[in-house]
Amino acid sequence: MSLLAVSNLTKRYHRGGKPFAAVDEVSFEVGPGETLALAGPSGSGKSTIARLVLRLIEPDAGRIGFEGADFLALSGAALRARRARLQMVFQDPLAAFNPRATVARVLDDPLRIHNIASRAERPRRIAALLERVGLDAGLAARAIHEISGGQRQRVAIARAIATRPSLIVLDEAVSALDVSVRGQILELLLDLQRRERIAYLFISHDLGVIRAVAHRVVILDAGRIAESGDARAVIANPQSPVGKALVEAAPRLTRNRP
């Protein structure tokens, strides 16, 4: 059974007074412990899908099933409770945190909100989370703006896994990082997936990264699915014009080809 089942998802906005579909009848599924990548040119609707799946915005049509239940039917306290299972990591780790927060507070919030640990127990949990993502537990006392970008993205991942989710949406989560840091973060994500069977909805425009981490890929074009399938197969032999253009535009891939 699929973990996340999205069907005919549609979101319309207005552009110049005329309605247009940023996401147009999009359907896909993500299985437990699986990584599904969303690729596509800028403006193709990737972030909009992420926000829809996270219920940060509401769709105009379509269904979202999550863990076997109708995710769109939830509201209020029930929705907030279910959010523990579905987390997100943003592109810009600096913008993703309250500028006044400390690392400890950022990690304390989900533990407190979902009653995962008592107040007395939380500092130990926070230290464990930091170690889990390869950070020193002493970092907890630091302000969020006092740590490096790579450390911050690790904190974002620690926050996402604090509530033991089954799915994490990553919207360009490694795009803003240095190449060396990017590799380490991808390594961490793969390790977490192996050990805890977390599924990822992995949004990226970098097909090299997608081929390294994703099982399957969905390529979007102007809000619609252009093609989808096994990540390596699609990237090796794209069928759609957008897919071909994306592969053309990825220099490392062309170089890697025999």
């Binding site: 926000r51 996270l54 940060l56 907030r80 409770a81 959010r83 523990a84 579905l86 987390q87 997100m88 943003f90 810009d92 913008a95 993703a96 945190f97 309250n98 500028p99 006044r100 919030d109 989900p110 909100i113 979902h114 926050r159 509530t163």
Partner: protein
């Protein structure tokens, strides 16, 4: 520390800070230097200033010590001004945050209420409120706050409207935080700086409104106020002008001090922002 040094760079800021320090010292020292009731009779009526050093600024129509009244008046002015401004900023920040964060009907409703309060001249509003409820210190504070919260509410709302689109607010929703907690713990503190920048203007206006209410006889009758002193002196303005001039000058200096200090603070933070 750096910011403090930057603040004290302009002569205006130094002057403002000195005036405020003096005023605060007067307010704090009033019960020590002039223990007992400042409204009690201290000597013969209408003594001119600088004649009898037990009453350096002379006495008023009823023989009360003007200097003692001035010190105790500073206490009332500062207390009312600060309390009313704090209440106005608090109400404004809460209303503005709720309106901006909730959006939709709640925003619409709250902003119409804000409009309604803003269309009535604020002094009339305070005047009406005190005359209906009756003059006491708490009522005066409430009346002034009621007439001054709309500015902070608008500024807070505008700030919240931009902050609520940031990623970290979405992040707070994703971890399941309650909307009220997001509004007041995550958004409001970050929306405060421009709201607090209004505080000097609001404190100054609150002190002036308090003086005006007292002048009209709507202040707390059990307290000495500068506005009340000016009103008292008005009846003998020709023969003893100092009775109105002394509290009047104190009032002007106070408001000036607050404005200058506020300007200095804004200036120093503006510089630090452009430097960073």
């Amino acid at each position: 520390m750096n910011r403090l040094r930057r603040f004290f760079r302009t002569p205006e800021a130094i002057a403002g800070a000195l005036i405020l320090a003096l005023l605060a010292a007067m307010a704090l020292a009033a019960p020590l230097l002039f223990p007992g009731d400042p409204q009690a009779i201290a000597g013969p009526a209408l003594q001119p200033p600088f004649q009898d050093w037990s009453v350096p600024l002379g006495t008023d129509r009823l023989g009360r010590n003007v200097l003692a009244e001035l010190f105790h008046g500073a206490r009332t002015s500062l207390a009312v001004g600060l309390a009313a401004a704090a209440a106005a900023l608090l109400i404004g920040a809460v209303v503005g945050t709720l309106a901006g964060f909730a959006g939709g009907l709640i925003d619409e409703a709250l902003m119409r209420v804000t409009d309604a309060f803003q269309t009535v001249p604020s002094f009339l509003l305070a005047l009406a409120f005190v005359s209906i409820v009756g003059p006491s210190l708490g009522v005066v504070v409430a009346a002034i706050a009621l007439s001054a919260w709309t500015g902070p509410a608008r500024v807070a709302r505008a700030e919240v409207l931009s902050i609520r689109e940031r990623d970290y607010v979405a992040g707070a929703r994703v971890i399941g935080m309650h909307p009220l907690e997001i509004a007041f713990r995550e958004v409001l503190p970050n929306a405060l700086p421009p709201v607090l920048a209004l505080s000097s203007v609001i404190v100054a206006a609150a002190i002036l409104t308090e003086a005006a209410l007292s002048f009209l006889g709507l202040g707390d009758p059990n307290r000495v106020t500068w506005g009340g002193m000016i009103a008292e002196g008005r009846t003998v303005l020709r023969t003893a002008p100092f009775l109105s001039v002394v509290p009047g000058v104190a009032l002007v200096l106070t408001v000036l001090g607050i404005y200058l200090t506020g300007e200095g603070v804004v200036e120093s933070t503006a510089v630090s922002r452009s430097l960073s």
